[in-house]
Amino acid sequence: MTSAGRRIVIPPRVTIPIGPQHPALKEPGMFKLTVEGEHIVDAVVNIGYNHRSIEKIGENNTHLQNLYLASRICGICSATHNGNYAQAVEFAAEAEIPERAKFIRTLIWELDRIHSHILWLGVAFHEVGFDTAFMLSWRDREIVMDMLENISGNRIHHDMSTIGGVRRNISDAQKEQMLKGFDKLEERVAFYRDVAIHEKTFWNRVDGVGMLEAPVAKKTSAVGPTGRGSGLKVDVRFNDPTQAYIPMMDTGDFEMILSDRGDVAGRSVVRVIETIEAINMSRWLLNNMPDGPIRERVRPRIQPNEVLARHEAPRGELIHYLVTNGTNKPDRWKVRAPTYNNWTSMAHCLRGDYLADAPIILAAIDPCYSCTDRVVIVDGADEAMRLVSLDNLRMESNKWHKEHPRRE
C-alpha cells in the first residue's frame, strides 16, 4: 500500500458508564469514562448512592449512642470513626482521659491501619490479576484480625473507645501474644513489600499509571497515602498529634512515609512501608504502656463548644466537626471521611490512561467493604442452623483439607 492510500482512523469517542454496582469496587459509585479507542480522555465521578443521613440521625442521638453509630459509618476504619468521635466529645467537655486509655486507643487505631493496608494490598494485587499474592496477603491479615478480636471481642466493629477512655483493658498475656504476632507479621509484610517492588507482575502494571503530580494533588487537596504518594506532607499523626501520638512523636523514632513518584506504584509503596511503620508503632505502644485506670467518668451533658477533631485514618485525614450545646446531644456533627477529598483528584488520575488500568486506579484510593467471621451453617436436609465459631470453623476446615487431599 502506498503512503497516499493510507488513512488515519480516529477512533470515535465513546462514553462508558462503570457502576453504580461494579463487581470490582464493592461499593456503589459511578464513573463515566469517555474513551477514544483504549485511552481515557475524560472522566466524571458520581457519588451519593449510599447516602444514609448519619449526620441527621446523629442530631437526635445522645453522644454515647453516636459513638456506636459513628463506628458503623465504615466497616474498615470503624475504630477511627469511633475513636475520633470520642476524642471530639472529650475535647468539647475539656476532659482529660487516663494515659493508659490514650495508649490503648492509639494501639487500636494502629492495628486498624495495619489490617486496612494489608487488605488494600490484597485488593491491589487482585485488581492487577495477581491473585496468588492476594490470597497470601489476606491469609496473613488474619494475624492482625485475630489480635483485634482478642482485644476487643470483634473483628470489625471494635467499639473500643468510649467517652472518657476505652472499654476494655489489655492483659499481660494478651500483650505477650501480640508481641509474638507482630514478629510474624513484620516478616510477612516485609516479604510483601519486596513482592510489590521487585515482582514484575505487579510493578509493571502500576509503574507510571494514574499519575497525580504534586501541584494537582495540592489543588485537589489529596489526603492520606494518595497525597503522600505524591510527596505531600499530610499526615495528621505528625502534624497535629493527639492521644498517645504526642509522646510517640516526641521520641523521634518514627518518620512520615513519603514518595515523590505520584503514580499508583508510589501509593502502593507508601502503604506497604507504612504498614511496617505501624507495626513498629504498635510495638512501641505496647512496650511503653503505662499502668492505671482505663476510663474517666465524663458527665453526659457537654458544655457548649465547637471542636474540629482531626485524626489520620488508614485512608487519610478524618475530620469530625462537632458543635455541642449544653445538652447530651450534638447540635451539629459533620463527618468528612478521607475518600471524599480524594474523589476530586480521581478524574485527573484517570485521564490519559488506558481503560484496562481503570480498576487499579479506582482501587488506588482504597475501596471499602466489610466482612464477617462467623458463619451460619444450614443443613439442607432438616434446615437446622448452627452457629460456628471461628476456631471451630478453622479446625473443621483443616480437617476437611486433610481428609480430602488435592485432587489430581
Partner: protein
Amino acid sequence: MSDTEAEKITEHHPAPREGHEVEYELLEEIMGDLKDSIIEEGTYVHKQPRRIFVQVHPETIRNVVQHMLDKYDMWQFITVSGRDLGDDLQACYHFVINDKKIAITFRLNVPRNKPEHPTISDLVPAAEFIENEVRELFGIVQIGHPNVRRIELPEDWPANEYPMRKDWEDPRRLMKKSRTTGPKEGV
C-alpha cells in the same frame, strides 16, 4: 451544670495567650491584613491546640481565601460544614495551613430568606463536591459555582426541601424532627 447555666455559656472558648503564641500571632497578622472582611465577634483562637476560627462577611469570602492562598499557601482544604442557626444559616470553610500546622475555619452567616454567597470552587477545586452538598442539604447557594449538580440526594428529591435544616420534617414521618433547634441564648 444546670440547664439555665449551660444556656448562658457561649460555644466560643478563646484560649489564653501563653501556650498559643503562634496561633495568636497568625490571627493578628490576618486581622491586620483583612480588616474589612473580618467580623471581630466570633473570631478567636480555640483552647484546643492549633485551631483558629474566623468570622467573615459572606460577600468577602473569595478575597479572604485568595489572600490566604497567596500569602500562606493554604492549599489544604478540609471541608465545608453547614449549620442552621435559626435566623441565619452558616457555612464553615475549614482549611489547614500545612506549613504552620494550624487548622483555620472561616465562617460566614447568610440570612435564611436569602442564603447566598460567592463560591470558592474555582479558587479551590477541591471544594466543588462539598459546596454542591451544602447547597443540597442546607439550601445555601454558592453564586458562580462552576458545576452545579446533585451529589447526595436522589434525583427526584423535591425542590426547596433541605433535610439538614433543623425545621425540616420528614413527609413520610420516618425520621423525627431535630429536637435541638439552633443555638442556645447568648451564642
